[in-house]
């Protein structure tokens, strides 16, 4: 693969193995390899390099087709809701995106709607302080919908460009937690039709095939508009995000590449493909 040597059956076996090892999943891998082989054949491919190019193009095209890498803030106030299972990096990603938006000259507030987990509000407050961004919060145990509501009202009354809403991590098989999330979304929607402008599913790059189940459930219950793929600074390839983009049509919009506030990059399909085969 990737050399001037002629591509053989073994080359395509290697490709398949690399994609499986990258958490792309067996079903998506087989589809991708079939499509890449067709491309390879149609373009008169010969070498391992041709095989690699055919696959890279196939993956890039599929990611581009669903709008990966694009993120438009939208008219003020733009509500961005962060959702996902426990520990994926939602709170940290909010801080990072807030820093990015502030750097672009936008005014914003953070909403601490994780009212459940120990020190969740404190964690967001510390980031808010570092950023110089107001954090809208209530007492621990408060209704998260009420916090989201307060945040939207604050954004309107202060004329802010954006409000980034943090929510508690939740496993998608917990129906009452998913109901709670749907309610948070409805509260925002009722107060501001057309909002939330963005619902970002934060997905950990180390996640295996459960990532697909996460994306399906969160899409159904909260209307996911994009994915933030975190912890790409580790060794995990994050291939399940490719499966999600391909099968559910959800674009990957940002990549989390570290724990510091600067460690957020617009998702780059080219770089992702490089990383898949690194």
């Amino acid at each position: 693969l990737g050399t001037g040597e002629p591509a053989t059956e073994a080359t395509w076996d290697d490709v398949e193995e690399a994609l499986i090892a990258a958490d792309v999943g067996a079903t998506t891998t087989l589809e991708l390899v079939d499509a890449a082989r067709e491309r390879f054949r149609a373009s008169g491919g010969r070498s391992g390099e041709d095989a690699r190019r055919a696959l890279a193009t196939e993956i890039r095209d599929r990611l581009a087709a669903v709008g990966s890498g694009a993120f438009e803030l939208g008219g003020a106030p733009s509500v961005i809701l962060f959702v996902g299972v426990n520990g994926t990096g939602k709170t940290t990603s909010i801080a990072k995106l807030a820093a990015r938006l502030k750097g672009e000259g936008h005014s914003l507030a953070l909403a601490a709607a994780d009212t459940f987990r120990a020190a969740a509000v404190e964690q967001l407050r510390i980031w808010g302080e570092q950023l110089g961004a107001p954090v809208i919060a209530q007492r621990p145990g408060a209704d998260p919908g009420a916090v989201a509501f307060d945040a939207v009202v604050a954004a309107e009354s202060r004329g802010l460009d954006a409000v980034l809403v943090d929510t508690a991590g939740r496993l998608q098989n917990k129906q009452q937690l998913m109901d709670e999330l749907a309610k948070i979304r409805r509260v925002i929607e009722r107060r501001l039709p057309g909002q939330p402008r963005h619902v970002l599913l934060v997905l950990d790059a180390t996640t295996g095939q459960n990532g697909l189940l996460q994306a399906e459930a969160f899409s159904r219950e909260a209307g996911v508009t994009g994915i933030v793929l975190t912890k790409l600074d580790g060794t995990a390839k994050g291939g399940v995000a490719l499966a999600v983009a391909d099968r559910l049509g959800v674009p990957i919009v940002f990549a989390g590449v570290g724990e510091e506030i600067e460690a957020l990059a617009p998702f780059d399909p080219e770089a992702f493909v490089e990383w898949l085969f690194a």
Binding site: A22, Q209, D233, T235
Partner: protein, 291 residues
């Protein structure tokens, strides 16, 4: 589920005199797909399927009745065997015994530390929690709040104190207070972050843990082996905690890690609250991995 898939395959063979090697290959392909879908590492799957094939051929499965059911039984048995015995009797024969939590970011270390404190106290041990994550915003606060919820003391140091000093001073306090178990929470870190891995090595050198638990998220995919091998290579890891098992992730990472490193699963995290900790049952996890 795998059993329904295999029943489907072999019911089509009913009436034929025997199932051929080709039929077995079809069944093995299904097993491979089921294991990959369950996030078992692809190399572990390869070895595992090879072993199933050996056993299937060896037990004259190819001439037996209801081969589909037999194959499932073999797979289940092999899984249970690899996953091995439960190991929730932590070896804490020192006073104070240090139990250290390590793992990647967000895996559930801090929450699990509190859960273990609750469990150990129920067993009549006196725990002390030590908040050595000095990096993550409000990490110390998180452990302090959990400690407060469960009525267990948490040792902390002022902002700016290095993690090594928090751990060392924690041990000193544990000794002074006659604590039975010091549960040491550490910051999440990447297995490829040499500086942070070195920090753990120094902490181990300073407090000599009796137990070092690698906390792994049940939804971890193919990378589980690389991560576990890296931690296991540099630290005296004695067991695994597989967290968020109250979700619907299949938990194949447990099989991958066990097969690749021999590390036993000590506990399962089964909820966000401090009572969400269960001992590990290999047959139940085998069932879940098979789906």
């Amino acid at each position: 589920s795998l059993s329904t898939r295999l029943q489907g395959i072999t019911s089509r063979l009913r009436g034929s005199a025997r199932i051929t090697e080709a039929d077995l290959d079809v069944a093995l392909r299904e097993i491979r797909l089921a294991l990959l879908e369950a996030d078992v590492n692809f190399r572990v799957v390869k070895d595992f399927v090879a072993r199933i094939r050996e056993r299937a051929v060896g037990t004259d499965l190819l001439t037996g009745l209801n081969p589909g059911q037999q194959i499932v039984k073999i797979v289940h048995e092999e899984l249970v065997e690899v996953l091995g015995g439960s190991r929730h009797h932590l070896e804490l024969d020192a006073k104070p015994a240090v139990l250290m939590m390590v793992g990647l970011q967000g895996s559930g270390k801090t929450t699990t530390a509190a859960k273990l404190a609750v469990r150990l106290r129920k067993e009549g041990k006196r725990p002390l929690l030590v908040a050595a994550d000095v990096y993550r915003p409000a990490a110390v606060d998180q452990l302090v709040q959990l400690g407060d919820q469960i009525g267990v003391e948490v040792h902390t140091r002022p902002v700016g104190t290095p993690a090594l000093e928090v751990a060392r001073s924690g041990l000193e306090v544990a000794r002074q207070r006659g604590v039975d178990v010091m549960i040491l929470d550490t910051a999440g870190r990447l297995h490829v972050d040499d500086a942070m891995m070195d920090e753990l090595v120094r902490i181990v050198g300073s407090v000599t843990p009796k137990e070092t638990l690698l906390v792994v998220d049940a939804m971890t995919g193919q990378e589980s082996v690389k991560v576990a091998e890296a931690f296991h290579a540099r630290l005296p890891v004695t067991g695994l905690v597989l967290t968020k098992m109250d979700g619907d992730a299949r938990g194949g990472a447990a099989l991958s890690i066990r097969a690749a490193t021999g590390l036993p699963v000590s506990f399962l995290g089964t909820g966000e609250r401090t009572d969400g900790l269960e001992p590990f049952h290999p047959d139940r996890l085998a069932q879940r991995i098979l789906g």
